[in-house]
Amino acid sequence: MGLMDQVELPKPVKYVFNWGRKYSLWCFNFGLACCAIEFIAASTSRHDFIRHGVIPFAHGPRQADLLVVSGTLTDKMAPAVKRLYDEMPEPKYVISFGSCSNCGGPYWDSYSVTKGVDQIIPVDVYVPGCPPRPEALLDGIMKLQDRIQGESLKDRIAAVRRDPANIGAEAGMALDAQSLHTAAPAELGSGG
């Protein structure tokens, strides 16, 4: 990171840097439940998000840029997710994949389910569905990429420093109004 969090980079450099981050989203799949299967489906032949530069080769959090939380987050698991997120190097992005990680989903009234992953880590893009179709994940990824292309790394890191819990909303302020809506449902998933 170095100086990047202190100085606003000149526009061409910023463009190239954002372009690099946009197309190199090494992805750590926090596969928790059903949605993890659809995540794998999205990485295989028919959908193949590697086309978009989302590389699912990050075996650990240290190499990851994108954390996809797919599935039900339980109270027992929550500290591990938080810790994993903390282990990731900045700048990092989070996609909440599926109803359970968005809000608790079908287990909204369970005694052991955390009501959404955004209670413990900031989320950039929510993909709804139970589970969402792989196409919905692709759409969510493209929305995230649009957002990365338009963002300022300095502002993002400043936002993280200021309020780690609320990064999604803060970072959105630096963006155009269009990409602000990435926090809204990306696409209707399968009702299955």
Binding site: A78, L84, E87, D109, Q119
Partner: protein, 293 residues
């Protein structure tokens, strides 16, 4: 390929019961055959012996330990049900016993020495119902729920916090509507789900209990400051305000009081979750950093 090798020699339910009665005498209380399932009721004192017999009698030969679980038996306490299956005769046998100790201290002898599969099943039953299994090597820590979980979730007097804190806003509540879709008015007892519209006494009691529990946890954690700051740090945007009951539905209760109770319960639940997360973080910090990679 021993499967069903001896299906022609499989005992009928009557013969099975007769054989068990012959071996165990008064330990066998009775039997029922309903919904295509044959259940033998066993006294707790004969519980382990019955399983040993079922396993070792050549005529019975129940080798597959299928399942073991608890059932809430209302005021009588708790039942423990186990199901055995014989791969050679194709017979299935359900054995059921009522725990000693009522609802307060339910106790059932452990089958761990008879069937290995009983180990985790009993741990789970303890986790869900709080039934003690003397003879089990280690019921703790809780196998499914989070380690410092309070209460026994599958007991009928354990109400779901979300249902207590956030009444279900829709009109379709299966547990509380009669066949014409009208709200059933009744005094809540063991086994009744808390209704969506009426925050009844049971829930108020639970809210108080939750408050006490979280206070105890906070005291144990010795971190009052965190409790004080718990409210603002939880992002309000992500957690909708404790909703007031839907207007015009709760005729029997004062809406303001209900909303208060709901809010209190909600806060308590949050505080509890915070304390839990803090404890978990402390635990995690004790471990070496690579362990959860």
């Amino acid at each position: 390929m021993s499967v069903l090798a001896r299906r022609d020699r499989a005992l009928t339910p009557e013969e099975t019961e007769a054989l068990l009665r012959d071996r165990l005498g008064d330990g066998i209380i009775g039997s029922t055959l309903a919904h295509r399932m044959f259940t033998v009721h066993v006294a707790p004192s004969a519980w382990v012996d019955t399983f040993t017999r079922c396993r070792d009698e050549p005529l019975l030969d129940f080798d597959l330990f299928d399942t073991l679980h608890g059932v809430d038996a209302r005021e009588d306490g708790f039942d423990v049900v186990a199901i055995l299956y014989s791969t050679s005769t194709g017979n299935r046998l359900c054995l059921r016993t009522r725990c000693e100790g009522g609802r307060d201290t339910p106790v059932c002898p452990s089958l761990n020495d008879v069937y290995r599969g009983a180990n985790w099943m009993e741990r789970e039953t303890w986790d869900m119902f709080g039934i003690e299994f003397p003879g089990h090597p280690a019921l703790e820590p809780r196998i499914l729920t989070v380690e410092n979980f309070e209460g026994w979730p599958l007991r009928k007097d354990f109400h779901l916090a979300s249902r207590v804190a956030k009444p279900w806003p829709g009109v379709k509540e299966p547990a509380e509507l009669d066949e014409d879709g009208n709200v059933i008015e009744r005094v809540p007892g063991i086994g009744d789900a808390p209704g969506p519209y009426v925050l009844d006494e049971a829930m108020a009691a639970q809210a108080i209990a939750l408050r006490q529990v979280s206070a105890a946890i906070d005291a144990a954690a010795g971190n009052e400051a965190a409790v004080a700051s718990a409210e603002p740090t939880v992002s309000d945007a992500t957690m909708p305000e404790a909703s007031a009951p839907a207007s015009g539905t709760a005729a029997s209760t004062d809406p303001a009081a209900a909303a208060d109770a709901a809010r209190t319960a909600d806060e308590q639940r949050r505080a509890q979750a915070e304390a839990r997360a803090r404890k978990a973080a402390e635990r995690a910090a004790d471990e070496t950093p690579e362990e959860q990679a």
